[in-house]
Amino acid sequence: MTTHFGATLRMLRIDAGLGLGELAERIGVSSAYLSRVEHGHDPVPTPDRVIAIARALELPPIVLLEIAQGAGAALASYLERVPEASSLFLEMATRELGAAEIARIKAFIDRTMPARGASRRKPARLSELLVPDRVLVRAVCSDIEDLVSVASTRLARDRAEARSLVAKLLEREETAPSTMGAGVVAPHAIISGQPSRAVLVTLARPIKTRTPDGLPIQTGLILVEPEADRAHLERLAHIARLAARGLANTLEHARTPDDALRRLATLDVS
């Protein structure tokens, strides 16, 4: 399952404050082409172009590659580019290394090969933002407005804040819909002076509304952040990546908030 690359790209681009012509110029394509990609008239761009887009948006390329090609394919293309990595994986498979050994390998990597430059930042994880209090499972809503209204009951501290929050979420939704495809929608808003907060809502019955890939919405991740900085953009891209990994299906049968968070954790790895 993949998210709809074009719709996600459009949302990220607008949130990053880049104009269509601007981004097109930076990656060396025509703005007409980019517009077609965003609206789904053209297929997903080649990996090189996707990497160029990621650089222009200052996002880790692998995240965007996953969104574009799906989790497996992104990894596969890395393995193709770097054959030594393939043989490493085969070694691990041959020795049947389990979680504990792999954790040691990872610790070794962290110790001896600290991440360079951009990837030195901690990867954006959602589990920090989601506590069981902020998870609603098996809700029933008929449209995205309902979804946002429901989320606001867990997101806002008081009624006045809830009202303005919903208004901002819906206003931003107007400018660039946050339906990413794969049954996930991520309404978000910037409200300064407050810590980052998020609410996860899974739906008992999917919402049939206009989505870029035609799949109804099953999961909503509503995000409120103080600043539209790189961390925010990375979080949005990460949500899209989780969607590509099948977030909606994984969460579909969660019965309690804790259950949902456990299932999310299986996908929410860097």
């Binding site: 404050g17 098996r138 029933v140 809502v201 019955r205």
Partner: protein, 676 residues
Amino acid sequence: MGWLIDDPLSRFIAQLVIVVALARILGRAARKIGQPAVVAEIVGGIVLGPSILGALAPSVSNALFPPGSLEPLASVSQLGVLLFVFLVGLEVEPAMLRGRARATFAIAVAGIVAPFVLGAAVAVPVNELVASRMPTAELALFVGAAMAVTAFPVLARILGDHRLLRTRLGALAIACAALEDVIAWCLLAFVIAFTRSDGLMQAATTTVLAVVFVATMLLVVRPLLERLVDRNNAPLTLSNDVVAIAVLGALGSAWISDRIGIHLVFGAFLFGAIVPKRDSFAHALADKLESIVVVVFLPLFFVVSGLRTHVGLVGSATHALACALIIGVACLGKLGGTLVAARATGLRWREAGALGVLMNTRGLMELIVLNVGFELGVLDTAIFSMMIVMVLVTTMVTSPVLARVYPARDAIRDLVADTPGPQLPTRASEDRILACISHPRVGPAMIAMAGSLGGEHTEIIALHLTRDDELLDVDKSSDADHILAPALARADELALRARALSFASRDPAEDIVRVADVRAPDVVLLGLHKPVLGNDLFGGVVHGVLRDADTQVAVFVDRGLSALPARLLVPFHGSDHDRAALRLAARIQRSHGASLAVLVAPEVRADAIAILDRDRACCEIVIASTTDVIVRRARDCDLIVVGIDREPEHLIREWSPSLLVVRARSNELAPAKVSR
């Protein structure tokens, strides 16, 4: 040198090659130091002109750009300018101006008037200093107009570089620049007409013709173009025919504006501005033309400007002084004017300063104006050169100063999302009813009641809140589904529009109130199903909602109301809640043609009649208000609709029919709080 270039055509090709290559190379260098490419291109033009190449290597300069050879160069560059200005017009979106109209207008006007006036004023002493023989009035007008222009495309590029496009400031800057462009072009058109004409009469004729022209373009040509786009919109590939029409339109429009007496560029710009901007049609068109225009034609234009620039002329003391004066006035007028106006409309100092700096950017547009002035013989070489230097300085200064005055973190803080957002739709009309359903068996009755309270187009939201710690049974497809299913089925039977809303809640009263805040129903309908015990009639959730909700609240106490109520009773004492109750009762009466009896105290009879209004004929109004009358008549009705301040407990404790207890909207209540 001679054998390389010995006939006009090969010379022209050589000129093209050198100009385009130089422009590309210098452009990259400029981007590296954070300047927009136009700065490099202007510099390139100056380099190739008499100022540098001509001074350092006159033989080369003479071979490459002999005086007589400028004709083809100038013509081709003119064509490029026309197409470029057309592309600029394509960028202008009237939608950008929406919502910021007043501030934008004020700032834009100030940003034009101030530099124009100051520029015209400074033209006089400059004229003296330089001892040029230019006619003063025309010169003043031209210098004024030249100072008033802002470079819209360069501004857009700089905003993009500084990541300001999505900020409030960036949007405001673009809107102001677009508006200023339009005003400036109109101003320029008038100035040109004045200059070219013989006297005021001619200028007036030109103005009238111009107005007619603009009107025709807006009212006739634009709708035609919209129809063209509509037919073309499905695939985004433009046919060559369409491109031809666009170019021909731009050129034709340019020709007309020239014949009228204003400049060619005006027509091309106008045509670009009226091309419909929907569906990325304008984008696609711009894409097709942009590369060739920007890469090939524009550098030619800069070279032509450069060839007219003698930086050396600015060397002497008086000339340097005049140049400094020009630069100073240009900045003061544009920056100062914009700054003051922006502060006046309420921007902070930093923002206003940043806006001023942005508006001070001049670039290609300026150059176009200056070249027009040169061609019309209003600007001589000296003044032309000084103005070019001014353009360079003001444009080069913009990026660095902006970075100091308005660093990135300010920009991020001001992102569009931060502006006071839109209000939620507060149309609490009869359109929506929020029915809170707690058990499957009460669903159908609640839906039926909600249906009665609404009109034809009413939408019912069937809300069910689950307890947060319930472990949902996975055998059932969905718990909420199960609970709301009977209600939704009933809605279907009654042909009512209903939809389900359900989620886990820690505080049902609070959450019901919040949903009501956001969805703005006309009535929140609650059901009371627990047996009534003790003094606390409305406990728990119902109490909380009655206390906190802003909308009307109606509590339905169902005592076996099996069918739709046929006989209604309303005890009416004239309080706010009674009024609300009577209004709702009237609605129920209207829905089913039920009979409605209103028991009024004599002094409020008129009020009751006013509320019932045209339904009066179907209602029975009885003058009586004591409790035993109410109790007696209650035995004969199906539903009593009463305001919450009527202490309905005794109605409930006694045998009584079903009850609908109504609490009015909070903004209809007198300041005294409801005792419940």
